[in-house]
Amino acid sequence: MDAGDALLLARAQFGLNIAFHILFPTISIALAWYLIGFRVKYARTQDPQWLATYHLWVKIFALTFAMGVVSGITMSFQFGTNWPGYMLKVGNIAGPLLGYEVLTAFFLEATFLGVMLFGMERVSSRVHIFSSVMVAAGTTLSAFWILALNSWMHTPQGHVMDGSALIAGDWAQVIFNPSFPYRFTHMMLASGLTASFLVAGLSAWRLLKAPQDPGALKTLRAGVLVAAIIAPLQVFVGDLHGLNTLEHQPAKIAAVEAIWNTQKGVPLVLFAIPNEETKRNDFAIEVPKLASFVLKHDLDAELQGLDAFAPDHPPVAPVFFAFRLMVGVGMLMLALAWFGAWWMRKRTPPGWLLWAFAGMTFSGWIATLSGWLVTEIGRQPWLVTGILRTEDALGRVPDAALGASFAGYLLVYGVMLVAYVVVLTHLAREGAQP
């Protein structure tokens, strides 16, 4: 096997693992806050229906959290094995950020999770709610640290060279690097949307079986309402995130919009098949001058094309398509959330609307994964923008070991994912039993 294949396999393995992992925190970060809402509702009303609802969703949370923990442990091993060059070059920055995540977030959430799941009869209502808040705070803190590191890899600052490696000059600058506030907010809202559609979708699934279930009707309304509020915020924040990317990573935006050549009055490509060979778009459907307007708020503004960065620009087609998938799913979520919220103001949801929400149960996963592909592939060929190329971070794990473990991971992840979805839909159909 040559170096190119090994690079591909190492990246595919890490990519598979990180993609599998992100599915679960994306749900659990926001679901933890949902649970607090359900728990507080019960504490205030003492209504057994809310207690049953809480119990149902705590089961779903526990399973999601467990999936996140075990797939996350894998990542702590693969940083060093698949990307030793990464740690040698930027370990003095990445290491402490990961360390703070373990110290401040992982222990907090994992320890209080035990009290939250099993301690309801053993501690007072107040201590139980406090434990739930600590779990939620832990999940959010964890996202804070990992996104600080990920953002730094996109828009590094605050570091100085020390021999061949980097060290931090100013930690505040490292953590609050230019893309961090946008990426963090974008990810938090993505988690909110993903969890909202999961709550709404599984509740709709239950209502299709038991149309009179009052608990499921309440959680459906909660999920739809929160999604209807978050979805437009996400459009706004996503736009700011894109403008920030244009400023700091223009090559990524050029790939997103499939702009091959630097020009003025750039059209917005709605659909095309980007052709790396001919460096143009086949079968393009374009709106004249719209890309210039969207990105620079000026119809005739000049945008840098991929030619300005050649040969160091990301592969165009995957970034281009993943972006359109993300935006498409996002718009569908916005439309359905608004329509559902409007319809359910005075009416109970009919079967077709329930089917629509049930069908969108895992739509957040698609949007999150495609957004992640846009940002990560869009950074290529760099692992850390301008500092470390992906190919230079590759490990020296024997090819046979990589191949065998890749097959093993694929099998285990497949089994886990199928089991997760089956159990969730099963729990949802059984509903909350007081």
Binding site: G91, F107, A401
Partner: protein
């Protein structure tokens, strides 16, 4: 005075790994004992570890995290050399972690399958950890002899975790299950005796470096405290079986602490035996300082809420606290 940062981090890493081995050791041990119990007993066993296992596994992330942060060169080297057993361990931990949740949520034969996977995952993870220890102590040298040694260490560590799990069950359960746990403890003790003896005799044989550290009179006489204290702890577990609920577990933990101290003495100051010392492999002082600041800041809270969680769940475990 300047701080010897690599030394501090070596101590922290040792503490984290020891905490992991003891804490996840008891819940992995309970997992491996599942097939020997009835359905109802299995539910009690899982209830006894349910509130803790997430946090227990976090110690593994901390141990590996410190290796990654403080000794990045060693992290890549060690985990690269152990790639397949690490993958096997991770697969075991994953299956087991998910089975924890699914064995009560799945239906019919699915529930049986997850119950089996819970046992298998616990066993696979434990065995892989022991195998990795064997490979690590023999400095990853190739050859059938070394592989056989590592397989034996793997089997011995499984027995060691069974000891921790069984004594944990004596502490946390009552009645028939507690009686069974006492019988399991005896089996665990035999395996631990075999394992500790094996590692203690074989490690000096395969590594000249380790041999010179232990067989160097008159220092050897002083070092004899470790095996003698281990033997005393072993006897303490045996004698206190049936007389006390907590002494067997405390004795089992003592065996681990002493064995770990012996291993640490054998290896120190190397992080990769005979090749990389902790000072060779250390990250830049600026990274170590900022991490140490976080450790000092967070550790009191971490200990505080861990103690709180164990206090909340003190006493005997009951089946069905959760999942019904």
């Amino acid at each position: 005075m300047t701080l010897d940062l690599p030394l501090i981090f070596a101590l922290l890493m040792g503490a984290a790994i020891l905490a992991y081995v003891v804490l996840d050791g008891y819940d992995l041990g309970v997992g491996m004992l599942m097939p020997a119990a009835t359905d109802h007993e299995q539910d009690v066993m899982v209830a006894s570890i349910g509130p803790f296992w997430d946090a227990n596994e976090t110690w593994l992330v901390l141990g590996v995290g410190i290796l990654l942060i403080a000794f990045p060169a060693a992290h890549g080297y060690i985990l690269g050399a152990l790639y397949l057993p690490v993958a096997a361990m991770l697969a075991g931990l994953m299956l087991r972690g998910v089975a924890f949740e699914l064995r009560v949520k799945a239906l019919g034969w699915h529930a049986e399958l997850w119950n089996w996977l819970f046992w298998f995952g616990s066993f696979l993870a434990s065995f892989a950890q022991g195998y990795m220890l064997g490979r690590y102590l023999t400095a990853f040298q190739p050859g059938w002899g070394y592989a056989l040694f590592s397989l034996l260490v793997g089997a011995a560590l499984c027995g060691g975790y069974v000891l921790l799990g069984a004594t944990w069950l004596i502490l946390r359960t009552e009645g028939e299950l507690q009686k069974k746990a006492r019988a399991w403890t005896k089996w665990g003790l035999l395996w631990v005796a075999l394992g500790v003896a094996l590692v203690s005799l074989a490690t000096p044989m395969v590594s000249e470096l380790v041999r010179n550290k232990w067989f160097d009179f008159p220092r050897t006489l002083g070092l004899m405290v470790l095996p003698l204290a281990t033997l005393a702890a072993w006897l303490w577990v045996w004698v206190s079986l049936g007389k006390s609920d907590w002494k067997p577990f405390a004795g089992a933990v003592a065996i681990y602490v002493l064995a770990f101290a012996g291993l640490a003495y054998s290896v120190f100051p190397y992080v990769v035996l005979g090749w990389l010392t902790i000072w060779d492999a250390a990250a830049h002082p600026s990274a170590l300082k900022v991490t140490l600041f976080g450790v000092v800041l967070v550790l009191p809270f971490l200990i505080g809420y861990t103690v709180f969680a164990y206090r909340v769940f003190r006493g005997k475990a009951k089946a069905g606290l959760y999942g019904h």
